[in-house]
């Protein structure tokens, strides 16, 4: 228990690697198939945001526990422009780019715990938890 790995997010293929590693971590802490798929999908959304809007960053994948249950904790951060209006960014259908505008809100609904910190000009840091 307590395995932590850091992966760079510099190009599109890095997202594929992050998805694979998150799935491995989710299997390792014995999340169910649906939970595995949910955390992998959430990681994919946030990692792509970090790459496209944040200009690249990194993803920390941690196999840990939450109240005695196996859990995966992800911290995805970038040093990009940050999000000017967090409340608006979380609204479904709002996007500053060309996506569907569901990534942030969707990721939040897919995981058990979601925290976002973002300051304009300071980058964005998002923490995702999924447990058994």
């Amino acid at each position: 228990m307590g395995k932590t790995e850091i992966f760079p997010l510099k190009q599109e293929t890095d997202i594929v690697i992050v998805r694979q590693r998150v799935r491995k971590a989710a299997e390792a802490v014995r999340l169910g198939l649906v939970s595995q798929t949910k955390i992998v999908t959430a990681a994919s959304e946030i990692a792509r945001n970090a790459l496209i809007y944040g200009g690249g960053g990194e993803c920390v994948i941690e196999e840990t526990t939450k109240d005695g249950r196996g859990a995966v904790r992800l911290v995805i951060s970038d040093q990009g422009e940050g999000i000017a209006n967090l409340d608006r960014a979380m609204v479904d259908g709002y996007t500053s780019g060309s996506g569907m505008g569901l990534g942030l809100g969707g990721a939040k609904r897919l995981v058990d715990q979601f925290a976002i910190e973002s300051q304009p000009g300071q980058g964005t840091r998002i923490e995702l938890w999924k447990w058994r």
Binding site: E12, I15, V16, R19, R23, L33, V34, Q36, T37, K38, V40, T41, S44, E45, R48, D92, G99, M100, L102, G103, G105, G106, R109, L110
Partner: protein, 279 residues
């Protein structure tokens, strides 16, 4: 400008150097399963000849026109070797194994062997590095070719019935591939005048908003061309994820298996399959 000492040595002792170079390559181990000794001998003789000509013009600037034949030959050899399955060290050994015989000649024939050896060493190091670079370029082009052939391989559009196409998607769908998938499907719709296209995502491990967006765009484009799309192969975990993501699939027909989607397609085309009667 005086002729460099190394150029003189190369010219004067060419055949001896060749013998000793071959011997030292043999000592390092020649991959006789990949290359025969005759080829090694020819390559070595050729390179030695080119080297002695190029060295006449000075051995400091390998980027100059005099060194072009040498560079070309090393590049061609290293690239070929990278494709044939030689290891990087086996490829580099070809150039580096010339050091020993050349140093021996310098030792025996020069008044100031130390400084000439340094020069010779620098020269061969540069050529060795160049061969390594060419080797890597060869490898990279192999990888690129494989990637491209994989893109083609992974997007077969098959005709299940007159008017019914299916495209089984496998692996992760990122923008590059999805673009190709979409174009291939639309082209095939025109070609076969199909009315129904089944997009099967059984082999897609993750459906995030980008994948969903690509799928919806493909469906819309097909609709504009008069074809209906059915998305099949939606596994329970993917269904649960799509719901939480908040993706609306609109009026797209979805089925859990390709077989279900096919029977829907046949029904829409008003085709009934009848089991042969028993005699």
């Amino acid at each position: 400008m005086s002729v460099p000492v190394i150029a003189e040595l190369l010219k004067k002792h060419e055949s001896e150097l060749l013998q000793e170079w071959i011997a030292s390559q043999r000592a390092a181990g020649i991959r006789t399963d990949l290359i025969d000794e005759g080829t090694v001998l020819n390559n070595s003789r050729e390179l030695l000849k080119l080297l002695s000509i190029a060295a006449l013009g000075g051995i400091d600037d390998l980027g100059s026109a005099e060194w072009k034949p040498v560079r070309n030959m090393i590049e061609a050899l290293s690239r070929t070797q990278s494709r044939q399955g030689f290891s990087p060290s086996e490829t580099a050994t070809f150039v580096f194994s010339l050091k020993e015989p050349l140093f021996a000649k310098i030792q025996a024939n020069c008044a100031d062997p130390a400084s000439e050896m340094l020069k010779a060493s620098q020269l061969l190091d540069k050529l060795g590095l160049y061969s390594m670079e060419s080797y890597m370029t060869g490898r990279e082009s192999v990888i690129r070719e494989q990637q491209e052939s994989m893109l083609e391989l992974s997007t077969p559009v098959v005709e299940l019935w007159k008017g019914v196409l299916a495209i089984p998607l496998i692996g992760s769908l990122d923008s590059n591939r999805t673009q190709i998938v979409m174009e291939a499907l639309l082209e095939k719709i025109v070609q076969t005048e199909s009315e129904i296209a089944i997009i099967d995502i059984t082999g897609v491990p993750t459906v995030d908003t980008m994948v969903a967006q690509h799928l919806l765009k493909t469906v819309t484009a097909a609709k504009l061309m008069g074809a209906r799309c059915i998305i099949s192969g939606i596994r329970p975990q993917i269904a649960a994820t799509i719901v939480h993501l908040g993706v609306e699939l609109g009026d797209v027909i979805t089925k859990s298996s390709l077989a279900d989607a096919f029977s829907v397609a046949l029904k829409e085309l008003d085709i009934r399959l009848v089991k042969g009667s028993l005699r």
